[in-house]
Amino acid sequence: VGQRAVGLRIGPVGVAFSATRARDRRWIRAFFRPFLARPAAGFWTIALAPAGAPAAKAVRPRVETLPGGRFRVVSRRFEAELSTQARSGIVRLATPAVLGTFLRAFLGHVLPQNNGLLLHSAGWSRRGRAFLFPGRSGAGKSTLARMCPRAEVLSDEIVLVQRRRGGWRAWGTPFHGDLACGRPRPAPLKGLFFPAKSRTWRLSRLTAPEGARRLLRCVLSFDSDRPSYDALLGAASDLARSARSYELSFARALPPGRGLAALLN
């Protein structure tokens, strides 16, 4: 790691990309600007190298666990091999534009091993608490992210959560949908509010198993083996049992007479 390294901190995970091509470094600095961080101890060191022949046919990445604490992330657009123990590795890619996809697969693999998850979710931070709205595409994440102007948007697409001392915390990520957003700082989790499109506004408490069922549909993972999913189920189980889960039936217009934040509180 030297002058050619660009550091990022996404949630609790630090990554120092070592890139010989100036355009790769420029792209990382521009695309991930709010998440830039000075490389420090504990960061992953990942070298960027030119791509060889495509290692896979599919565009969707796939993470494969290898012996010796190593893992591989393969896609038609890039190929990476990394060591969990050494916290280092290499990504071969033709263009830095695919780094976002690599980072999703990478974080989706390493977070569950550290009591964390990457979620398809919008989220806000308001008065120091994080309100998450987990849902797949079309669930209304961006709509809900826009509905509380006084809140700081974590993301309208993908949010990172991790259990720390004192409970679960949520971070914004550089992965976003319609809104150009991303809040790098964490906030303690207030609750999980699963959106359901409706004509009226209503908040209903979910049981832990129902919360877990909905949560698991929203966990982002590109893994392909049992040990990785054992870790993922462990983290999801912990989150579902410790966080309050609700179904948030929502309409296009804000709830009459009071703001959305008041309804959620």
């Binding site: 832990a208 877990a212 069922r213």
Partner: protein
């Protein structure tokens, strides 16, 4: 199928959350949740069991006609085999 012993496919990850079973198939990124009696049958298959063994245990456990239990067990096992969630126990 009657004498073959089956067990959970080894690639599956599974966990109970607040008493409810969640089974993930990493190969297909699918979530499965055996419900009702299926949840119990699934547990019995953990150590390996044949259809007649499952029917025998079901007859002890549930207050239902044996013919109905056998039909339900066979249907359940057939469905799991179709989804490749079971493999032959050696």
């Amino acid at each position: 199928m009657s004498e073959t012993r089956y067990r959970h496919a080894r690639r599956l990850a599974q966990r109970r959350i607040a008493g409810e079973l969640f089974v993930v198939d990493p190969a297909h990124r699918c979530l499965h949740q055996p419900q009702g009696a299926g949840d119990t049958f699934w547990d019995w298959l953990g150590d390996g069991a044949s259809v007649p063994e499952l029917v025998e245990r079901a007859a002890e456990e549930f207050d239902a006609p044996r013919a109905q239990l056998e039909k339900d067990v066979r249907k359940f096992v057939r469905e799991l085999l179709r989804k490749k969630l079971l493999e032959a126990a050696s």
